[in-house]
């Protein structure tokens, strides 16, 4: 479109302007400001840099004695040097990265470095800082390795492009013994109708400590809903012969509601295998032990993983946007629910809309004690999961169908007997 057409379209008179005349773009900047602008680096993207700069890949030594035998001490939640017993911990990301603030002002999709798009290979080669040997680590399954020559523990601490290194980690708090106790208590309440083979093979000591990948999201959103609501205006009973029927009269309303809200630390599964919830899996069990005290997550240090297993994140932020929107819509629906009291015959929502003004995504490893049992005849993997921070326990215990059906038939027969007795007595 030409400049002339622009002017006409806006209905403003055209003014002749000398094309060579300088354009006024505000008062001149000082020399220092001009120089600073000229030297400035290109603006960084919206990502949050969560790299732990104090650590590198390879040998990470105890700050006191220099040993590399470092692991998590569950009872204190701190890293402990197995050589000199010195204990320390990484900084909490909540304060370090300012995650608890600014949710009201979020704009666009802000993705932290550890939640970036996944690409690249799982296998990494580390050079041992102790002896110089090359040690291969399959980061899909482990982020620590022993140097096979000098026995130093090697750590993967720098960002990998395959999603194996998150922004933060929430250390295990519950010990193995405590987890075993909770799993045994959970299963012992469900013995009577449990599958015989499960009871025989139940060894809760086999529980595994696993760091599972999650995306922890802060978001600002506005949700809107439209639907129909009904208010009862009259209720009466009509009698025809021996039968009486109740009738209702009601007013029908078109209802619309909207609500703006922020969510802090909404937690979504970051592994595709765990994010699938259907009747063929028991993934809902692990989902149920959420939430975690994600505010206590600390900066990444792979020493927290020594002695535990971990699963790699394989879902990108883009793939999880629909999940976030769906959860925000659900949250909005629960928020507007209280405003529907007038509609005593209920409300039927017919349309909904979500506008995510801004979201901030952090990749996090969260700790779960996981007991699994594979039921061969149904090819189903049953989990009993313990939240290793709060102790919340949930599980799926395989049932002996014949026992359940026997119990159901017994109760049914008993109730039918009572019903029959009543009918005979009143005939």
């Amino acid at each position: 479109m030409t400049q002339e057409a622009d002017g006409d379209a806006q209905g403003q008179p055209q003014q002749d302007r000398d094309p060579d005349a300088p354009v006024f773009d505000g008062p001149p900047l000082s020399l220092e400001e001009e120089l600073a602008a000229a030297r400035a680096e290109p603006e960084a993207g919206p990502a949050i840099d969560t790299l732990n700069e104090s650590l590198a890949d390879g040998v990470n030594r105890c700050p006191k004695c220099g040993s590399t035998d470092v692991r998590l001490r569950g009872s204190t939640g701190q890293l402990v040097c197995l050589f000199c017993r010195h204990e320390w911990q990484e900084a909490r990301v909540e304060e370090e990265l300012g995650l608890g603030v600014g949710i009201d002002d979020l704009e666009g999709t802000v993705v932290a470095g550890g939640a970036a798009t996944i690409s690249g290979d799982d296998v990494m080669t580390l050079t041992c800082g102790g002896c110089g040997a090359s040690v291969v680590v399959d980061t899909a399954h482990a982020l620590n390795a022993r140097c096979h020559w000098c026995r130093h523990t090697l750590n993967v601490n720098e960002r990998t492009s395959n999603g194996a290194v998150p922004d933060a980690v929430l250390p295990f708090k519950l010990t193995h013994t405590e987890a075993v106790e909770r799993i045994r208590e959970f299963a012992s309440k469900r013995r009577l109708f449990a599958l015989g083979r499960f009871k025989k093979e139940f060894i809760p000591e086999n529980v595994l400590g696993v760091y599972l990948p999650y995306l922890v999201i802060d978001a600002r959103a506005e949700a809107a809903y439209v639907g129909k609501g009904e208010v009862q205006t009259r209720r009466w009973t009509e009698k025809v012969g021996d039968n009486s029927t109740t009738y209702y009269a009601a007013d029908v309303y078109r209802v619309d509601r909207s609500v703006s809200f922020t969510v802090d630390d909404l937690t979504i599964e970051g592994a595709a295998g765990r994010a699938k919830f259907d009747a063929r899996t028991t993934n809902n069990i692990i989902n149920t032990v959420l939430p975690f005290d994600t505010k206590n997550a600390v900066k990444w240090n792979s020493s927290y993983l020594v002695g535990f297993t971990s699963e790699k994140r394989d879902l990108d932020v883009g793939a999880l946007q629909p999940v976030l929107e769906s959860q925000l819509l659900s949250i909005g629906r629960s928020q507007v629910h209280e405003s529907l009291g007038k509609f005593d015959r209920g409300v039927r929502w017919e349309g909904e809309q979500i506008d995510v003004g801004g979201s901030r995504w952090i990749a996090m490893y969260l700790p779960v004690w996981l007991y699994s049992y594979y039921q061969e005849d149904t090819e189903m993997l049953h989990y009993i999961a313990v939240n290793a921070r709060t102790g919340e326990t949930m599980g799926s215990v395989p049932v002996a169908q014949w026992k359940l059906i026997t119990a159901a038939l017994t109760v049914g027969t008993f109730l039918e007997g009572i019903a029959g007795a009543i009918l005979v007595a009143t005939a």
Partner: protein, 95 residues
């Protein structure tokens, strides 16, 4: 105890023959027993209640309602397809 319960039902229906739907008590009780035990063991209906357990700060709810119709006679005691408590049931996306 059970005799007393039976007598209570008998008294409640006294003067008239007991309704025939009482015969459905057996099958209904059997199905309810099966599903309640199955759910207690398998917990297949459980999930994280993120609507309740997440830190949420909401502004006051806004909205309006407009009367569009009147139902003068129906046997339904509530609206068809009430989903006001099924927060996770998605409906048509607008916009």
């Amino acid at each position: 105890m059970i005799d007393q319960a039976v007598m209570a039902v008998v008294m409640a229906t006294s003067g008239d023959s007991a309704p025939i739907w009482l015969l459905a008590a057996g099958p209904a009780g059997a199905v309810a027993t099966y599903w309640s035990l199955y759910r207690y063991y398998r917990n297949n209906d459980k999930s994280h209640a993120f609507e309740r357990d997440t830190l949420i700060k909401a502004q006051p709810v806004e909205g309006s309602e407009e009367k569009v119709d009147h139902i003068s006679r129906t046997r339904d005691s509530d609206i068809d397809g009430d989903n006001s408590e099924d927060h996770r049931e998605r409906v048509e996306r607008l916009g």
